[in-house]
Amino acid sequence: MSGIRSEVKMMKKYTLANLLFTVTFLVILGPLGYWLYDYVFNYGLAPVAAKETLSDSNISPLSVNRDFSKVKEGYADKVTVLMYHHIIPKDQLQKQHFTEDGKLVDMVVTLEEFTKQMNYLKKQNYTVLSLKEFELFMTKQKKVPAKSVLITIDDGYKNVFEFAYPVLKKHGFYAVHFIITGSITDKTVAYDSSSLQYASIDEMKKAADVFDYGNHTNAFHRRNNNGVSYLLAYDREKVKEDLAKANEWLGRSTAFAAPYGEYDPTTLDILKELNIKMAFTVEKGYAQPSQHILEIPRYGIYPFYTMEDFKKIVEQNGDLSHKENEQMGDG
C-alpha cells in the first residue's frame, strides 16, 4: 500500500516538474520562435510575386486634367521631365548604396535632397503635371504653364512609396512610376534598408492617388551574362510578350520606359504594336511636342547635383553635361 502511495506521490511530483518545465520552455522559446518567423517572412525569404494585378483591382489611371487657361505666366514650349530611382533618408543609407570610392550610387537621391527639391518646386510655383496632362501637352491638345515639370520614378522600389510618396502627396504633386510588374510583391512587409525591396500590390493601390503607373517591363529588367539588356538580347516575340504582360498587369498602356534606357528600332516597333502612347529615354533634354513621342528625353536627378544644379535643370538653362562626365565613371 505505502509503495503505491509513494509512487503516486512521485508521479505527482514528476507531472508538476514536467508541466513547469514545459511551460517555461514554451514561454521562453515561443517568442523567440515567433521572432525568427517574423524576421524570415519579413526580410529573409524571397518575396512572392503579387497574385493580384493592378488591373484586377479596378484602380483607374489618374484622370487629373486641370484647367490652365487662366495662367498669367505664359505657356511652355518644352517641359522638364525629371527621373528618380531610389529615395532614401540619409540615416538609412547602407554600404551597398555607396560606390567603392565612397560616393552615393547614381540611382540614389537622399530623402533630404528630394524634399528640398520638391519644396523648391512648390515655392517657385511649378506645376507638376499628371501623366494625362503631359500626354495632352505632347499631342498638342493642351497648353501647360511655362513652369511645368513631369516627375518620373523608375523601378517601383519600396523606399519611394515609403519616403517620397508622402512628400509628393503633401505638395499635391503627381508622378509617373515605372513598374517592373513581375517584381511587385504579394505581401506588404516592414521597410528594411539593408535589402532591395520592391513595393507590394497594396502599396501600389494605396499610392494611386499620386502615382500614375507606367510599364518598365514585366521581368526583363535584367542583363544577360554578356551584359546585354534583355530587351536587346531576346528576340522580338519574347520581348513583345513580356511588355504585353506588363501592360496587361497594369491594365493600361500609356507610358513605357526601357530598362537602363537601352532600346533599338525594333523596340519602338513593338511599342507601336502594343499601342503604347509615350515612351521615355534616359537621354538628357526637354520634352517638346515636336519630338518623337516614343523617345521623350528625361533629366536624371543624381546625388551629386547641388540645389543650384537642380534649379538650372528645371529652369531649363545651363548644360550640366560637363559635370556629369566628371562624376560618372563610364560617362
Binding site: Y14, F21, T24, I28, Q96, S194, R223
Partner: protein
C-alpha cells in the same frame, strides 16, 4: 550612361537560397533537440526494480592493451559485481607493458585451457589462464590484433548466453549485471547499452559514488555532455528504436546475436559498427527484436583530462563515425529501419557533421556579406537557450535516476551551463570538423588518448593490492 548597381540586385537575388537551406537545417536541429528534451522528460520515471530470481549466464569480455594504469579499477568493479552466474574474460591483446603481470599479481593465474567454438577468426592465442582466487575469471593472452579482434577472441571463448563488453577502464556498479539480467529477461531485447558515467565527476568513498561538480572545466564539460548524451539522447533514441551506438564502455548482447553478426568488424569504431550491424539484422532476419538503452545499468569510465587527449579521443570518434557511415551507406532505409536511418543521416551526419561546417561558416558569411546580422543573432539566441533548457532537462531526468548533486554543485552547474554552450560546444564543433577532414587524409592514424589511472578504492580485498602497486 548611368551606372546601375547590378551587383546589388544579384547579391540579394542569390541570398535567399543559402538562407533557406540554413533555415531548414536550423528547424531540423530544433526539432531533434526538442524531441531529445521531451521524450525522456515524459517517459522516464524511477521504478522499483525487481530483479528476476533466475540469473541468466553472463560472460564479461574486457579487451586490454597496455592498460596497467586502469585495469585494476576495472577488476575492482568486476569483483564488486553482485552476480553469481558469471564468467569474466580479460583478453590481453599483446600488451607490451605490465598488464599481464598485473593480472598475475591480483588473480593468482594458472595456465589452463578453455573450450572455444572456433567460429570467429582472430589472432593467435598464446596462453589461457584461470584465476585460482576467483575461478570465474580468465585471462586470455593473445597476439596483438586490435580491440575488435580481441572482442572476437572473447566471443569465441564465451560460454554464457549474454555477452557484456567493457572497456579496460570501465568500472561496473555492483547491481549493473542484475540490471542487464532483468533487461534480457525480455526476449525481444537483442542488445542493450548501459549508462556510462565519468569517474572524475564522482567522489567515491566506501561503496558509494557521490556526484560532484568541483572539477576542472574540461571535465565539467564532458560530465554534462555524457549526462545529456545518455539520459536524453540515448533514452529518446531507444524509445524511437533508433539507437545506433551501444557504447564500447558498457554494452550487452545476446551471444547468439553477436555470432549471427559474425562478430566484430576490424575497425576502430567497432562499437557503432556492431550496433549498426545488429540494426541491419533487426531489419532483416531478427524482425521484432530491439536494441535498448538501460539507464539503470551504470558503469564509470575515465575521460581525457587534457585538451590534447580530448582532441585525440574526439578525432578518433569522428573518424570512426565517418567510417561507419561509409561502410553502411547502402543499408540505410533498406536493411536499417526508418527511424534509425533517419537519426543517423539527419541528426548525426547532416546536423552533427555537415552542419558543423555550416555552423562555423555562418558567422563568417555574415561578416563577409555584412547582411542578416539580426538573423544570426536570433539563431544564436535560440540555439543557446535551447541548449541550456536541454541541460536543465538533463538535470531533471538524471535526478529521477538518483543522480543527485549537492546544492552548491547545482549552483556551480547552472553557472557553468552558459559557458558550456558558448565555449565548449563550439570546441566540439571544431573536433567534428577536423575529425571528418582528417578521416579522408589519414584513415589509419587512430592515435589513442592516454589513460590517467586515478586509483579508485573500495573496501575490498583488492584495495590493499592497489595501494601496494601504486604506492598510495
Amino acid at each position: 550612361m548611368i551606372i546601375f548597381p547590378e551587383a546589388l540586385l544579384e547579391k540579394l537575388e542569390g541570398n535567399p537560397m543559402i538562407l533557406m537551406i540554413t533555415l531548414v537545417l536550423f528547424c531540423l536541429f530544433i526539432l531533434f533537440h526538442t524531441l531529445y528534451i521531451f521524450i525522456p522528460l515524459y517517459t522516464c520515471r524511477a521504478q522499483k526494480r525487481v530483479y528476476p530470481a533466475k540469473e541468466t549466464g553472463i560472460s564479461v569480455l574486457i579487451p586490454a592493451y597496455n592498460e596497467t594504469l586502469v585495469i585494476e579499477n576495472c577488476l575492482m568493479g568486476i569483483l564488486n559485481a553482485d552476480y553469481r552466474n558469471l564468467e569474466v574474460l580479460f583478453i590481453n591483446d599483446g600488451s607490451t607493458d605490465d598488464t599481464l603481470a598485473t593480472f598475475h599479481k591480483h588473480l593468482k593465474l594458472t595456465k589452463t585451457s578453455k573450450p572455444k567454438q572456433g567460429v570467429l577468426d582472430h589472432k593467435k592465442i598464446k596462453d589461457v589462464y584461470r584465476s585460482q582466487k576467483y575461478p570465474y575469471i580468465w585471462v586470455i593472452d593473445k597476439e596483438n590484433g586490435g580491440k575488435a579482434d580481441a572482442l572476437n577472441t572473447g566471443i569465441d571463448f564465451a560460454e554464457k548466453e549474454i555477452v557484456i563488453t567493457l572497456d579496460a577502464d570501465s568500472i561496473l556498479e555492483p547491481n549493473s549485471l542484475n540490471e542487464m539480467n532483468l533487461t534480457f529477461s525480455d526476449d525481444s531485447v537483442a542488445a542493450a547499452g548501459g549508462l556510462v558515467n565519468i569517474v572524475q565527476g564522482f567522489k567515491h568513498s566506501e561503496k558509494k559514488w557521490i556526484p560532484q561538480f568541483n572539477i576542472p572545466g574540461l571535465i565539467r564539460y564532458q560530465v554534462v555532455q555524457y549526462l545529456t548524451a545518455f539520459y536524453l539522447y540515448k533514452t529518446a533514441q531507444s524509445k524511437l528504436g533508433a539507437l545506433t551506438v551501444i557504447s564500447g564502455a558498457f554494452g550487452a548482447f545476446r551471444r547468439s546475436v553477436l555470432l549471427q553478426a559474425n562478430g566484430y568488424r576490424i575497425t576502430v569504431g567497432e562499437d557503432m559498427d556492431i550496433t549498426l550491424r545488429i540494426q541491419e539484422l533487426i531489419g532483416t532476419t531478427l524482425k521484432g527484436k530491439r536494441i535498448i538503452f538501460v539507464p539503470q545499468a551504470v558503469c564509470y569510465t575515465e575521460c581525457p583530462a587534457s585538451l590534447k587527449n580530448l582532441y585525440r579521443q574526439r578525432i578518433r570518434w569522428q573518424k570512426a563515425f565517418v567510417d561507419c557511415i561509409i561502410t553502411y551507406r547502402k543499408s540505410f532505409y533498406r536493411k536499417i529501419n526508418f527511424t534509425a536511418s533517419t537519426y543517423v543521416l539527419l541528426d548525426s551526419l547532416l546536423l552533427g557533421t555537415l552542419c558543423a561546417y555550416s555552423m562555423l561558416m555562418v558567422p563568417i558569411i555574415v561578416l563577409v556579406t555584412m547582411d542578416h546580422f539580426q538573423l544570426l543573432f536570433i539563431l544564436l539566441t535560440i540555439s543557446t537557450i535551447l541548449a541550456i533548457m536541454q541541460d536543465i532537462a538533463t538535470l531533471i531526468v538524471s535526478r529521477r535516476f538518483g543522480h543527485f548533486y549537492s546544492f552548491r554543485d547545482y549552483l556551480a552547474l547552472i553557472l557553468f551551463l552558459p559557458l558550456e554552450v558558448l565555449f565548449y560546444r563550439i570546441t566540439g564543433l571544431f573536433f567534428v570538423t577536423f575529425g571528418t577532414i582528417l578521416y579522408f587524409f589519414d584513415k589509419d592514424g587512430w592515435s589513442r588518448s592516454e589513460r590517467i589511472g586515478q586509483p579508485i578504492m573500495f573496501d575490498t580485498e583488492v584495495k590493499v593490492n592497489v595501494r601496494d602497486t601504486l604506492g598510495g
